[in-house]
């Protein structure tokens, strides 16, 4: 079992729901301090978004964040260099599109991010059918490759994805790109389908924009991923204190959620 999954299983065993914020790496010069603020305020793991020019599954807010980061000159190498100044005890998971790793060289990319302290990766446009080369590279560097299960995933696909997902399984709460949503989505059903097949921790993302939504999603899962609302806060000029307040409000909301079965 990959190290990331051991950590996240231990977290679950401790009775704590995972709070996983997503940051666009390089969005501001002090983005590393933003990550540290989030950890201080109660994040259990952090998704490090490496910007790609064509973010197919991201909504307008993250698109804007990615564009700004690219304009500032962010690259995979610069992200890894920045991470060397990050001091944190929580696991870090890369989130980016496949071309970034493919172009860098799969083996070289896996080695690079592992050496920079990342222990997992989410590649939303890499289907399980095309993933074998990347997973070999991940295995060589103890990187956990996280798969996403969608509301549209058929039972035979859940049966492929859930056992293959390492670290945690990303349950997409709705059929939408990243962004805010009004409804609670399909989180409960999707998580249930994964749990019927695998005991890997299951985290809910896509459309978790408020502490209340996070609380509800955490009640049916092992953790929540918060991206767009946080990126919006930073795009609007939010500083480390604003980020601490933001993450703190999510922390409190999911900590008062009753422990689910």
């Amino acid at each position: 079992m990959k190290h990331l999954e051991q950590q996240l299983r231990a977290l679950r065993s401790s009775g704590r729901k995972a709070l996983v914020p997503y940051f666009v790496a390089g969005l501001t010069p002090d983005w590393i301090q933003h990550v540290e603020a989030a950890v201080l305020a109660g994040a259990d793991a952090v998704e490090i978004g490496v910007p790609f020019s064509d973010p197919m599954i991201d909504g307008v807010v993250i698109q804007e964040g990615v564009l700004r980061s690219l304009e500032a000159g962010t690259t995979l190498d610069s992200v890894c260099k920045d991470l060397s100044s990050l001091s944190t005890h929580v696991p870090l998971v890369a989130m980016t599109y496949y071309n970034i790793f493919f172009h860098y060289g799969l083996e070289r990319a896996a080695g690079k991010i592992a050496a920079s302290g990342l222990s997992g990766a989410i590649v939303p446009d890499l289907t399980i059918e095309e993933s074998s080369d990347w997973r070999v590279a991940c295995d060589a560097h103890d990187l956990a490759n996280v798969f996403i299960v969608a509301p549209s995933s058929t039972p035979d696909r859940v049966a492929l994805l859930a056992p293959a997902s390492e670290g945690f399984c990303y349950a997409s709460a709705r059929m939408a790109v990243t962004g805010r949503a009004a409804d609670e989505g399909d989180a409960k059903r999707v998580v249930g389908e994964v749990r019927a097949i695998s005991d890997v921790p299951v985290y809910v993302g896509i459309g978790i924009g408020t502490p209340e939504q996070a609380r509800e999603a955490s009640m049916v899962s092992d953790g929540v991923i918060v991206g767009t609302a946080l990126v919006q806060l930073i795009l609007d000029g939010g500083d480390v204190h604003a980020i601490e307040d933001f993450i703190g409000s999510f922390r409190r909301a999911i900590d008062i959620a009753p422990v689910s079965a």
Binding site: L76, N99, T127, S152
Partner: protein, 393 residues
Amino acid sequence: MSESSFMSSPDARGHFGEFGGRFVPEALMPACLELESAFRDAWADAAFQHEYRTVLKEFGGRPTPVTPLPRLSERLGLELYAKREDLAHTGSHKINNVVGQTLLTKRMGKTRVIAETGAGQHGVATATAAARFGLECTVYMGEVDTKRQVLNVFRMELLGATVVPVTSGSRTLKDAVNEAMREWVSCVNDTHYCLGSVMGPHPFPWMVRELQSIIGIEASAQLHDMGVGTPDLVVACVGGGSNAAGVFAGFANTSARLVGVEAAGGSAVGMGSPGVLHGMKSLLIQDEFGQIEEAHSISAGLDYPGIGPEHAFLATSGRAEYQAIGDDEVLGALKVLSELEGIIPALETAHAVAWIMKEAGGAIPKGSKVLLNLSGRGDKDVAQVREILRAEG
């Protein structure tokens, strides 16, 4: 791979050699699998084939003729023929694809189509087929392109479609594809994404090539009926590559040289490297970090930083060759074809004409029989051409 198997089916996961495949969010995988299954089933169904061909005949204006080009032939010392896709309904080959995909949409029980468009040709064709078959239609078009192609926006609206200007990224075709993909995620249950070229995730590159192969199949038979036989060269312009794939499909297993002509500022074969974008692995124009770069061309239809994966395979395997033509060579070719043959070609098509003119007696030996795929008519471009010629004085 033996020559006889070129342009047959991709492998079970949609690969043409190392290219193709499926690189999409999991949310879209079930739809891609459903579409593949539906197309396989339909394409093997004689009733579907009959309906597709009947609609293309009665509504689409097929078969389009093959026209000898005697005056240009004489000037260049070649024996030139043009497959007249400019005479198909809506003025280009795009109708072949959209008729097939809208019939398939109905067969799958979906009620709405979405599409991306660059110059507007595929958007107009999709809006046309959607109107004909009573489907709701939304077209995503880069904001820059909506301004460059105001009349095509109006045409789509006349046909009852909604045109959504895309303001993300470079606001051109590649961003329109991203936006259509994003939209498809949220409405995949009742909506088919009518992709306009031989690109995207499997089955699109294969399906669109099959739906466009009618060009090459017709042209091959027509040249034989005319006593010309197999041409020495088949030449077509390439953006994503659907018209080229369609005409090449009729000649892939003959001795004909296959030549795709890209815009110099969007030459994915000439300037690109392997990468993954828009659901496929192919040759892409990208920077040293794997960020996709913008293509630049006088013709919006060739303004795409990639190429269909089967073309990437045909290029790397050597079965087809891909050449680039700069903006400055295009207008001259457009004028020559207009003045000598009475045909105003689309700016996209003019790239293929320009390459033939440039290489006649060079890369194309004198006396060669050359089939030009005349993929579209130039009406949509005349205002732009007029402006450029005026500016040049």
